[in-house]
Symmetry: C2
Subunit: 190 residues, 2 copies
């Protein structure tokens, strides 16, 4: 299996975990009667951090769908080599993948922090804990965050692979000089 | 200037920003009289997220100090080339640098999220905002978080550079095969 197919399958995994995270979180809600009179509904809209995580995960999943299409639909050479792209495209993919993984990771960390506060409260700031009242809701959020970490792990591997595909085109001797004095096409097919 | 020196200077920048973040946050405290009777002191210990950020930044700064020593003290060849390390060391540096940047970024994002809650409060959860009372404290935390983002940016560049130095040793044609059939030493000095 050539490297483009490997990348495609990794991105498929990432999409699965991202969509799972977004769905688990987005469809999580619990209604509870407080003080026998007030009805209170908990959903991911209550906290900005969860709201952003759902939409960022959805956006990065869509971005990866485009990459999967590229990986599986554009034909490679018979030797399983990459002939489809010039090194400039690799730079673009490198930057986009880095941006994707850091964005998802930031949203994930913020959501974990907000959930930790909701779980434990902060006594010195008089923020009370909430998960003793919305237990099932909080357990589902916890599951979603675990899936989110799986997605981040796969995205880290994907972004390393995209760095690998870019940087192996460069000379091991001189800084930022392509291997040999060949043009793009020749370089990629050698 | 060869690539090892470049890396050394980048890591120096990262250390400066990391130490600045940790100090701005660690030495930030404000005491205020609430309700004319209760004296209340705000410090970074009040929130776990800020506490962890200070210590993680300090740890990653120390790790980078070791790298700076390596970059400037171990001699390179006359051509400014890297002769000091085998490719296995590059793999180690690659993994450690990735771990460092993701750890700092996670701590940074969590601290930003906690600070956002402290700044705006979450009305639906009855978490009240705090920064209207501890204004100077909160402004200094904000400055520290800005420095933290600068540190993360530099660390991202450093980790890309470390990926570059590793992956350029590999063949552009075959997956994870070193260039040519040379041994480590020969490869790095060619």
């Amino acid at each position: 299996m050539d490297i483009v197919r490997k990348e495609g399958f990794l991105r498929l995994f990432a999409i699965v975990f991202l969509v799972l995270t977004a769905c688990l979180m987005g469809f999580d809600s619990q209604t509870k009667l407080l003080f026998d009179t007030v009805e209170r509904k908990a959903s991911f809209n209550d906290m900005d951090a969860l709201f952003f995580l759902v939409w960022i995960d959805a956006a990065v999943a869509s971005y990866n769908v485009l990459h999967v299409l590229r990986c599986f639909l554009i034909p490679t050479t018979a030797k399983g080599d990459v002939k489809q792209r010039s090194y400039k495209n690799y730079w673009l993919f490198f930057f986009l993948d880095q941006a994707a993984v850091y964005t998802v990771f930031a949203a994930q960390s913020a959501a974990v922090e907000a959930s930790a506060i909701a779980l434990a409260g902060v006594r010195s700031l008089q923020w009370m804990k909430l998960c003793n009242r919305f237990t099932r809701f909080c357990i589902q959020i916890g599951g979603a965050l675990l899936c989110g970490y799986a997605a981040v792990l796969v995205l880290v591997v994907v972004s390393s692979l995209s760095a690998f595909q870019l940087f192996r085109l460069y000379s091991p001797k001189k800084f930022l000089q392509l291997k040999g004095k060949l043009n793009d096409h020749h370089l990629l097919s050698m």
